[in-house]
């Protein structure tokens, strides 16, 4: 019974913790501008994510190594600095987007400008990390994240034509605004395949003391948790296509996005959107901050662990403190959170090879994973999506920045 409960909890937390600023914003933008035409990109990214998350758990369960520790050991410290630097920069950018998301939710709720919320929000995140343990971060916030089910409820109430939605799962080329289409496609891939997620997952698996007995649970959590989680992002896209598409509204601001649920849920829609955005971004901000500290501490061989008292892992705690302080600055200066989110998601996609390629080598190295090495299908899917996402990101980001 306890194993079934553990499995259910794992799936529910993966589901509840799936959405964050990037997936909400990019899915809504895609739906408003291209209706269901980018659903296939979300499906492709989710398939790749399922493989990556499953691999992260498998590496931890079989080798008892996190990705960062195994990469440093396998390739040496000098090489490890390359993915570490890339991951730290990209994750910091993503952290700014998530902190911005929480602040914009508070601005929507109170009318007080988001800049004023930057320091209190950073303070709350820091206190939760300082006082909380891994289970609290992993389970508590993800449980709250179940409020995002409201997007699925709204999608059902909207009653879209299922044939049209299903047609969006078939890969297609843009009929208009090609540069924008591919920018949003790569934004969706970046939002789905955020590298911090699988670094966080492998560290969590080590913190929870997984062994080979956890491989079945790991596979189920990766598949069902991420699969159901992607349904939330798909629901955001579908609702946006129904609400904003027919009105000709192109999402350029969270002020517009806040109207996403009002057609279907009336006066509850606004409050539920604000709550969903705040909670989803809070969960992601906690995970990214921890993932950053995990990567740095594991890379440099320091004591680490969210369940370890801060005084016993002082440099680990100092790392997440500094990361939060750095992330507060752009938000306090009033940078447009939606613009930061879009750029952060594309940077995630551009940096994917740094995170994924060494990881794939590890997952095919029997010194680490023994008889549990990757199959060819997983290797091909992950490698293919990673290369495509990176190339698209490198082409589309300059175009989008130039286009304003």
């Amino acid at each position: 019974v306890s194993q079934v409960l553990e499995l259910a909890l794992g799936i529910v937390t993966a589901f509840g913790g799936f959405l964050e600023a990037g997936s909400i914003a990019t899915s809504a933008q895609a739906g408003s501008e291209f209706r269901y035409a980018l659903l296939w990109v979300l499906a492709l990214g989710t398939l790749c994510l399922v493989f990556l998350v499953e691999m992260s758990g498998r590496l931890a369960a079989v080798s008892h190594h996190t990705i960062a520790a195994a990469t440093r050991e396998r390739f040496g410290f000098t090489f490890f600095m390359l993915p570490l630097t890339g991951m730290v920069l990209v994750s910091l950018f993503t952290l700014v987007a998530e902190v911005g998301g929480i602040c914009i939710a508070l601005q929507l709720a109170t009318g007080i400008s988001l800049q004023w919320w930057a320091l209190p929000v950073i303070g709350v995140i820091w206190a939760l990390l300082w006082r909380g343990n891994f289970s609290f971060i992993e389970n508590g916030v993800s449980m709250l994240g179940l409020v995002t089910v409201v997007f699925i409820v709204a999608a059902f109430r909207q009653q879209p034509r299922l044939g049209e939605v299903a047609a969006g799962l078939v890969p297609s080329l843009p009929r208009h605004d090609g540069a924008r289409f591919w920018f949003l496609a790569v934004s969706i891939l970046g939002a789905t395949l955020t590298p911090y997620l699988f670094y966080f997952y492998s560290s969590g698996a080590v913190e929870d003391g997984w062994d080979e007995g956890a491989l079945g649970t790991n596979r189920a959590v990766a598949t069902a948790g991420m699969g159901f989680g992607a349904l939330l992002a798909a629901a955001v896209l579908v609702v946006s296509a129904g609400v904003f598409g027919p009105r000709g509204i192109r999402i350029e601001s969270y002020d517009q996005l806040a109207l996403l649920l009002t057609d279907q849920l009336g006066r509850w829609g606004f409050a539920l959107f604000v709550a969903s955005l705040a909670i989803a971004c809070l969960g992601a901000a906690l995970e990214i901050t921890l993932a950053l500290a995990y990567m740095v501490a594991q890379g440099f061989g320091w004591n680490w662990g969210e369940s370890v008292r801060p005084r016993d892992a002082a440099r680990f705690s100092a790392t997440y403190t500094v990361a939060l302080a750095v992330a507060a600055v752009p938000v306090a200066l009033g940078l447009d959170p939606l613009r930061v989110t879009n750029v952060a998601m594309v940077l995630n996609a551009a940096a994917l090879p740094l995170a994924v390629l060494p990881f794939l080598v590890l997952m095919n190295d029997r010194d680490y994973v023994g008889d549990h090495a990757n199959g060819w299908f997983g290797n091909v899917v992950v490698l293919g999506v990673t290369v495509v996402a990176c190339v698209l990101a490198l082409v589309s980001l300059p175009l989008e920045l130039a286009g304003g």
Binding site: S253, L399, E400
Partner: protein, 127 residues
């Protein structure tokens, strides 16, 4: 070599199209988007679905975007319509500020018509 050159040309053209920002149809679509946003904000507020502070802030943003786009607009037939949208958004802000939901509803309906007219103009401008 010719394939690579063609690919570079396509990317350069796309960069120009994205970077120069001179596409009048795209500009009209953006204007229509903000007009429709104002209309949706007015309707939602008049139905008690959104708080006043949020509505005023969002309408202020919409008005600034519409004003900026009007100044950059080069499609002569659209100028009176866009000026009308800008004025209507101001009127809507005033109605929300005065807590007059009936007036807000009426302005929002006019703005929704204007947004559709701008979208039609964008289609004609593109073709």
């Amino acid at each position: 070599v010719s394939t690579a050159r063609r690919a570079i040309s396509v990317v350069a053209l796309a960069a120009l199209a994205a970077g120069c920002g001179e596409d009048p149809a795209a500009r009209l679509r953006a204007l229509g988007s903000w007009a429709a946003t104002s209309a949706m904000l007015g309707r939602a507020w008049s139905e008690h679905e959104t708080p006043r502070a949020y509505t005023l802030r969002a309408l202020g943003r919409a008005r600034r975007e519409i004003g900026q786009a009007r100044r950059d607009l080069t499609v002569a037939p659209a100028v009176p319509l866009v000026s009308h949208v800008e004025a209507a958004t101001r009127e809507l802000e005033a109605a929300v500020g005065a807590d007059d939901r009936r007036a807000a509803r009426a302005v929002a309906e006019r703005l929704a018509d204007d947004a559709r007219a701008l979208a039609d103009l964008a289609v004609r401008s593109a073709s």
